[in-house]
Symmetry: C2
Subunit: 335 residues, 2 copies
């Protein structure tokens, strides 16, 4: 293994000079820097991560805790993770993958052993048991999602409440009077997953404000679940003309089910969704949707962490405003 002293000798300088040339923490003459860089290239030098971490008390690694639970749409998680890794690399950091399963112990372990400098936690619940721990940790963290009490914590997410509102308002503007929310599987609500709850809040509030008749329907994330909900809606809400879907896997199956029951989209029924743009676009009837910006959330989360690591203050809450794209699945009620 080639070490910093080898580089120093080869370049005719001291090890500390090599270190400063690398980190830029002290001025180094142009000529010396050149020699050092040449030596590094010729010897193929790579600083030892452990030694660096020990001496600088910075590991340049971020922890990312991903959810495994039922009812979470996997591609969204993956896209988010990839965005975190990609952004972290831009800041010269790597990403350690933790599973939800490891729980609080896992968080404490990687934080206390100085394996990581900072943490990103996904799938936050309203009353998440990890909140006190995150507050007490000596390392900065960012949560994806908003718990009820976010005091002293940094959170970021799509503004799901506004997203729910945007969908309803869009339908209201098109003249729809009876709307339904087809949501996540029941267990997601039982766990009080923050984002799912907030969609319901926004949906209901906006419907009430606009004087719409509304109802909420959790739905299993399977085609069979979608068919069940479709049949139930037709039976119980014959006047229904507007649907908001917040459940990625059943978006297409639900539309199929409606059509098989004789309802045309958007002719008889307007459908909007909260989901990744790619999904909304790839459905047979492209769906008017509020984008789920996983990549942006991941990127912003890393940037927040970097700011905190740099000692800057950051806003406690970052709510990304919903961005709605009209596609073929919505139409005026009389059209």
């Amino acid at each position: 293994m080639v070490k910093i002293t080898d580089v120093a000798r080869h370049a005719g300088v001291s090890p500390s000079t090599v270190s400063y040339a690398l980190s830029g923490k002290r001025p180094i003459s142009e000529e010396t820097r050149q020699r050092v860089e040449a030596a590094i290239r010729e010897l193929g030098y790579r600083p030892h991560a452990g030694a660096r971490a020990l001496a600088s008390s910075r590991s340049n690694v971020l922890a990312l805790v991903v959810p495994l639970r039922a009812g979470i749409h996997v591609p969204v998680v993956m896209q988010f993770a990839v965005s975190v890794v990609t952004t972290a690399r831009r800041y010269d950091h790597d990403v350690l993958l933790l599973t939800q399963e490891e729980g609080e112990d896992g968080l404490r372990r990687v934080a206390d052993t100085a394996l990581v400098d900072a943490l990103i936690v996904m799938d936050v619940q309203l009353h998440d048991p990890r909140l006190p721990l995150l507050r007490s940790l000596e390392r900065p963290s960012v949560m994806i999602g908003f718990p009820s009490d976010a005091d002293g914590l940094t959170c970021i997410d799509l503004d799901f409440k506004a997203a729910g509102e945007a969908c309803v308002e869009h339908l209201a503007r098109l003249g729809h009077r009876v709307v339904a929310l087809v949501g996540s599987p029941p267990e997601v609500y039982v766990r009080q997953t923050a984002f799912a709850q907030r969609v319901v809040q926004g949906f209901t509030a906006a419907a009430d404000r606009s004087g719409l008749s509304s109802s909420v329907h959790p739905c299993e994330a399977t085609p069979a679940g979608a068919r069940l909900v479709a049949e139930q809606l037709l039976r119980e809400q014959p006047a229904l003309t507007g649907v908001v879907v917040h459940n990625e896997p059943i978006l297409e199956p639900l539309i199929d089910a409606f059509e098989q029951l004789g309802l045309r989209v958007p002719g008889d029924l307007s459908v909007t969704a909260i989901c990744p743009d790619e999904l909304a676009e790839s459905v047979r009837v492209p769906v008017t949707s509020v984008a789920l910006p996983s990549a942006e959330v991941g990127e912003r989360a890393v940037q927040l962490l970097m700011k905190k690591l740099g000692g800057s203050a950051v806003p406690e809450a970052t709510l990304l405003p919903p961005r709605m794209t009209e596609r073929a699945s919505t139409a005026p009620r009389d059209a």
Copy 2:
């Protein structure tokens, strides 16, 4: 921060004794061990990961390179990643997440800086550019999938060739004479992704052996793609009665498409798949399938790595035999 010397003082022993009590690398009397453990508990001691890595030249971190490319079924990747993390934790290791995008430089970086002890590489292609690098690295690695030339490398995967064969043989036993493989999107074959190719090999070989008439059809991973292929098959192969699907996202859409074209499954058409058991079970008509054992592959990959890190020799190739489960989607041809 509480360090090993604090623990040592508190327990009335030397730091090295604490270290040995922790690692078990030298005998420590029961009584001393108790005192050390008590001190650790009382002080809340956590060994510093960087210091440990520096002194022991072991970081206890594995690198996992996940694919991002089009045509890869994300839930399978995720399940695999989770299984790797979970298993690694059982061996007291953590997992660093790398994206394919970082490429060979990323691998070299984490290996050379001693950030990781070993590497797991997914989505191996027949002529993967990373092969020479992995051979030259001073750290052990395991590849998920088989390149053409695996000399000097450790590989593990489902035996996709045998899986393809098993599907055909199952259909042949049921009396089917004309079979088709509906495979991955074209780009997967263009890239020469190992596992996709091997399924084709096994499928074709077994069909030839059994004297079946067979054809292979790449298919876009969208419902529209499934419909296209279904229509094409009906048009071009009216005698078709057996289908093998190796493309997770379209399994259910393809069956839907067949039924909408008037073919009953399994009455008119028997369908088998190579996919995760959960997927096969959750389709409306549960599908006879060869399981894609991502969790097992992940676990075994980590175990292989641990053996290699321990200095033991491991087999270069580990092919997991296909395991087929009969479900409702296949029936005898005359039934």
